[in-house]
């Protein structure tokens, strides 16, 4: 073997070691949570094992019952309705911003973006006060509304980049051919924007699925989402935390992320294209 080849091989080996180390660092914590979920409570409490002695599916069975089942369903409902509400509304708004200049549009757009940037903690107190007064406290509808505050700006932002990539002449040509706006959307624009729909939907889903601050502070029992239920489990004082249960809930909460990252990885990166220019 020549020196060059040896060097090349050594480089390859180092690279593979680096990759494996990265895999370990990012996967081990997730693995550890997943196996904790299938350990018995006594195994969790007494020792740290990296392979469970006995497969215990009790925690996952619990997930299909009572407050856990309700939390998972709540989470799914809030996520699906968020996507269903925000995708069309943000689509229309972004279209207006990108195609039809109007007075003060720049200021409005900036205000939109700052909503996304604004610390959510600043909104907790007023939302809490408003919702307790108008009966939206501890409802899924309340959470849905709250999430639109953050989902809409992000969605509009992402839409803008997709729309700016399509020449405005397409619109003009369609209108000259006698299309009205709605027919133009249905026949021409939405088909062109398909990748945008997926990207926007993925981001809205992820925000709604992972959100916890509002979910904890604006709900009590009925509308608790999975992250809120997890928080309650982990924060319960006195009895000691049931880590097996928390780990099982945590493992379930990761599943949508895994599915999305595998099937929509290219859309995830596209969602950040607008950030290049803002």
């Amino acid at each position: 073997m020549s020196r060059k080849e040896t060097k090349k091989l050594a480089g390859k080996v180092i690279k593979v070691i680096f990759y494996l180390a990265v895999l370990f660092i990012f996967l081990f914590p997730i693995y550890f949570m997943a196996i904790t979920a299938v350990k018995t409570r006594s195994e969790i409490e007494t020792e740290t094992t990296f392979f469970p002695h006995k497969l215990n599916l009790k925690n996952f069975v619990e997930m299909t019952k009572g407050p856990w089942k309700r939390a998972i369903i709540n989470s799914l409902v809030v996520c699906i309705t968020s996507v269903a509400l925000c995708v069309p509304v943000s689509f229309l708004a972004a279209y207006a911003f990108s195609r039809s200049p109007f007075m003060g549009d720049i200021h409005l757009y900036f205000w939109l973006i700052t909503n996304r940037m604004a610390p959510a903690a600043c909104f907790i107190l007023p939302f809490w006060a408003i919702y307790t007064n108008i009966g939206l406290f501890d409802t899924k509808l309340g959470l849905l509304f709250t999430y639109t505050l953050f989902n809409l700006p992000l969605a509009i932002w992402i839409w803008m980049s997709f729309m700016e990539a399509v020449p405005k002449e397409i619109d003009d040509a369609a209108f000259l051919d006698g299309f009205n706006v709605w027919r133009f959307f249905g026949r021409v624009f939405i088909p062109v924007m398909k990748p945008g729909i997926i990207t926007v939907a993925v981001f809205i889903w992820m925000f709604s699925w992972t959100e916890m601050m509002f979910a904890v502070n604006l709900t009590a029992v009925a509308a608790k989402t999975l992250p809120a239920q997890l928080t309650v489990t982990v924060m319960r004082l006195g009895y000691g935390v049931d880590w097996g249960m928390a780990a099982a809930g945590g493992t379930i909460s990761i599943i949508p992320g895994i599915i999305l990252v595998i099937f929509t990885k290219q859309y995830l990166t596209r969602g950040f294209v607008p950030l290049r220019r803002l």
């Binding site: 990265v22 550890f32 409005l108 107190l125």
Partner: protein, 283 residues
């Protein structure tokens, strides 16, 4: 054709008036009163003065600023390094890049749970420390703070990686070929081709991480609950504790307003720099 397409913006505006204008109006209103009492009276700027004189507020602010500085210094270089090293074709690279992105899609609570499981007494992290003859516990202010930092890095290097990798692929191959032909060193290639190519994404990810680290709440709440003492109490945590748990609404509202407008000002400055004053809509 009179262009009325801007009317399409109205559904969004109506939702956001309910969601953004109205709450901010309520907070501003609170910040000048003593809310939640039987007789909310107008107290002028008293709450604001209280906030600016509050040691707790300034502690949280300072703590958060230090935290932000540290995580930027860790996450940006490592994220960039990952983006540079984990690219190209191949199955292993595909798997590794997918796994690196994964943490950004995990609910924050679950990240908190992950790390509490790891750092529990007798858990893997204390075991690792023991193996090297050291001692680890989440119970000292120092180690709690640094655990928070490591957890945040584990969570958000993914975002830096995602953004910068997406940006790296937009640099045309011919630039690298030209650099090779010109006998450029690795450092020169990085300095004159890679870095200028990802400049905007880099500023953007910096901006996002600054803002997000000032918003950090969930993992903070789950992992350390602000403790021990107040050693890991960051701004968002402080606000919610004051407003909802300690029930001092006026103080919390005034702090929120200060906090909110600081962030908006920061956004405005950075956006102006990024777009060189051209504004955000390009037509």
């Amino acid at each position: 054709m009179s262009d009325k397409r801007y009317l399409l913006i109205f559904p969004a505006i109506i939702l956001l008036i309910f969601n953004s204008f109205f709450p901010i109006f309520v907070v501003i209103n609170y910040s000048f009163t003593k809310p939640f009492s039987s007789d909310p009276e107008f107290v002028g700027v008293e709450n604001y003065i209280d906030v600016l004189h509050s040691q707790e507020w300034w502690d949280a602010f300072k703590r958060n600023a230090i935290f932000t500085g540290i995580i930027l210094a860790i996450e940006i270089p490592i994220g960039l390094l990952f983006a540079l090293l984990i690219r190209g074709k191949g199955k292993l690279i595909g798997i590794v890049s997918t796994v690196v992105i994964l943490p950004s899609l995990i609910p924050f609570v679950s990240v908190g749970i992950l790390w509490r499981l790891l750092t529990r007494t007798g858990g893997p992290v204390p075991l690792l420390f023991n193996f090297f003859g050291m001692h680890y516990t989440l119970m000292t202010p120092q180690s709690a703070f640094w655990t928070l930092v490591v957890m945040d890095a584990w969570h958000w290097i993914s975002l830096v990686f995602l953004l910068l990798s997406a940006s790296l692929v937009t640099i045309p191959d011919v630039y690298y070929t030209a650099a090779k032909i010109d006998g450029s060193t690795k450092w020169q290639t990085f300095r004159y081709i890679t870095l200028p190519g990802i400049k905007y994404s880099l500023i953007m990810v910096l901006l996002l991480r600054i803002i997000d680290s000032f918003k950090l709440y969930d993992e903070n709440f789950i992992l350390t609950g602000g403790g021990p003492g107040r050693s890991t109490e960051l701004l968002s945590f402080f606000l919610i504790k004051k407003g909802i748990r300690e029930w001092v609404g006026g103080f919390s509202a005034a702090a929120s307003i200060i906090y909110l407008f600081t962030v908006i000002l920061l956004c405005y400055l950075i956006i102006s720099i990024l777009t060189k004053g051209k504004g955000m809509l390009e037509r």
